[in-house]
């Protein structure tokens, strides 16, 4: 090749190489693998019990805010119904299964300012179920005196409203029982508030009038389950206090409307996130235990599952001693309910999650904990969507005598995806698992 030609070729290369490099450089992507991303989310093996998921109620829009779900026989006939507190519509809805297997929704109570919980009870002892609504007043943190307890007296097909507690902060729960032994039904009230809260009992004076008695001053009381915890024949009250305090309290009924406060347990972990309290004789030894779902970290704009989240069983050892055992590590656990899902004679648990690692698809939103009869639990995943669930109830809703699972979603956090409102998982097991 002549030298001139060689030179031209080299000069051309001299010009082309930097141009090609300049053009290619921005397009190039690193060959190194990207860093591994940590996930604190939890997934579990698929449930050996088959469930089929159904949406309870019609198609929905927006971001549903279901705060409480109950399963009970509302009309006293046939199968159970589902009743839900809908904080986005400020109403209470009844869901009934129609013969064609679709669900009909009927608003039975409206104009309740952010209902947090419902309690069916025949308060006037006239043979029908009245409904007590715990009114938050605001779903977001609020320390204002905006709560209420409203009682809806069943009169024929109508509900008549009675405001039985006003001038109170956000009310999260009301439970019923005859605490003073006078034959009528009194109420225990959990005033969540925000930075201020309290536990009350309301003494029934008849004619839908109640006298207010303070049991405890503490912020963040969520649930106040009522039972005879000390097996002495009268009804006591338990309460879970959250909001940095994280304490379990018992109020021992001493008779004549007198109570003794007992701090049953506390933790220094101010971030535990106690999210409710469920009573059940989980080990079926004849006394009432307590179950604590823990996973509320809504104080953060972007909540994340924590290693201490999950479910704690407080086994009643008698004499107001409760022994704690962690039985699940589901991140963001927000609610629990019990039932014998596998029909083996012991009590299993169902948990739902509000804040698992939703950025990692597949993390569990509904699980059940299989009890081996000795209170050793195996966690099985039922679903990974919808997400953001805060309430769960277990009961037969389709009349096949097998316990189903019904959940409610509260969509107030990111990601606004995989939305749900009222969802059910129908138990399709044949006999046992």
């Amino acid at each position: 090749m002549p030298a001139a030609l060689r030179l031209s070729f080299l000069v051309a290369l001299l010009a082309v190489i930097p141009l090609v490099t300049w053009f290619l450089l921005p397009q190039l992507r690193s060959l190194r693998p990207t860093a591994e991303v940590y996930s604190g989310g939890k997934t579990y093996p698929a449930s050996p019990i088959k469930f089929s998921r159904v949406q309870v109620g019609p198609e929905f829009g927006g971001y549903p805010l279901i705060t409480n779900i109950q399963i009970f026989n509302f009309d006293g006939e046939g199968t159970n119904e589902v009743v839900a507190c809908d904080a986005s519509n400020n109403s209470i809805s009844l869901f009934s299964l129609l013969p064609d297997k679709t669900w009909k929704e009927q608003v039975i109570i409206s104009d309740v300012a952010v209902p947090g919980h419902i309690t069916p009870v025949d308060i006037d002892q006239d043979g029908d179920l009245d409904i007590i609504v715990s009114i938050l007043g605001n779903i977001m943190p609020d320390d204002g005196i905006i709560g209420r307890v409203e009682l809806f007296e069943k009169q024929g097909d109508e509900f008549v409203r009675h405001v039985i507690l006003d001038n109170v902060r956000r009310v999260a729960d009301v439970q019923s029982g005859d605490f003073d032994g006078d034959g009528d039904i009194d109420l225990a009230v959990g005033v969540f508030g925000y930075n201020r809260g309290e536990v009350l009992w309301l003494e029934n004076q008849g004619d839908f009038k109640f006298d207010r008695h303070e049991l405890l001053v503490a912020p963040g009381t969520i649930h106040v389950p009522v039972a005879d915890y000390d097996s002495d024949g009268d009804l006591d009250i338990a309460a879970i206090v959250t909001q940095d305090e994280e304490e379990l309290w018992g109020f021992e009924n001493l008779g004549n409307g007198q109570f003794r406060n007992r701090k049953l347990w506390m933790t220094s972990n101010l971030d535990l996130g106690g999210a409710g309290l469920v009573k059940a004789d989980l080990d079926q030894d004849g006394d009432i235990d307590l179950i604590l779902p823990a996973g509320d970290n809504l104080e953060d704009r972007d909540a994340y599952p924590q290693p201490y989240h999950g479910c704690y069983w407080f086994e009643n050892k008698g004499e107001w001693n409760f022994e704690k055992a962690k039985i699940s590590d589901l991140g963001g656990t927000y609610a629990a309910d019990v039932g014998d899902l596998d029909a083996d004679g012991d009590l299993d648990l169902v948990l739902v999650s509000m804040t698992n690692d939703w950025n990692r698809p597949g993390t569990a939103s509904v699980v059940w904990l299989e009890n081996d009869g000795q209170q050793n639990f195996t966690t099985w995943q039922v679903a990974s969507e919808p997400i953001h669930m805060v309430t769960v109830a277990v009961g037969d809703i389709d009349g096949d005598q097998k316990p189903d699972i019904v959940t409610g979603s509260m969509n107030i956090l990111k990601p606004f995806q995989r939305l749900g409102r009222v969802s059910a998982w129908l138990n399709r097991s044949k006999g046992g698992k």
């Binding site: 506390m266 953060d300 924590q306 290693p307």
Partner: protein, 256 residues
Amino acid sequence: MIYVLRLTLMLLVFELALCGYLVSDKLLHVSPTTPAFYLDDPLLRRMFEELSNEAQDGDDLAWQHLAEALLGQGYYAYAEPNYRQALKMNPDNVEARFGLAFCLDKMGRMKESTEEYRTYLKKETRKPERQKLVFYAKYAIGRNYLREENAPEAEKEFRKNPKFIPAQYQLAKLLIRSGRAEQALPIIKKYLKEIPHSLAFHYLDYLALSELNRPEEAEAAKKKIGESVYLVSLNFNNDYIDPFYMKYGQERRLNE
């Protein structure tokens, strides 16, 4: 002619070496970590892409900014590797160190988080504009111990943070809960003098006096709870994240 050819050839070799270096550097560069899945906010996706491109060719600050944008939107797990890359490039970047500690803290990795907060405190040059972070780091270490249910260590940490009121609140609360309400009272009274309407300290006052079986004073303190307001923020999470949250995505557009 031969000399011209040789010179051109040398230039070509030099050019090839330089371009080869640039290409290999790019191919072996650490990639920024961003969420690959959907994002609710389309502005965020664009923002993360821009910040990723800047980080790819940038210094530790560029990586830190990407990590902060992710942190502001709650992507703690994605912020973590980007903070780590910033610290690899500059181990003395104290803001990135604090950010990494905070990410670990939010993901419930308390031991790792405490370690990083401690490294932050060691490396911090105590610039006045970062005084708040120093208080936060010490407080977060105490909180991490509380979350691990290690109250004695938490107490030690809160005692080391005497000028940060939330730490003193936690200390007083620990004293009450461990049967030392008598020791808690002077702390509570001191802060009630400074912040007479503090709800948090009036509540502690009530708890301490109840614990000490001083019912009349406890009743008076309880009355004060109703008359006071929430003035002492006990959780700095949102205070720390808010600036990053406001800086990116829809929030920034709204502010503009």
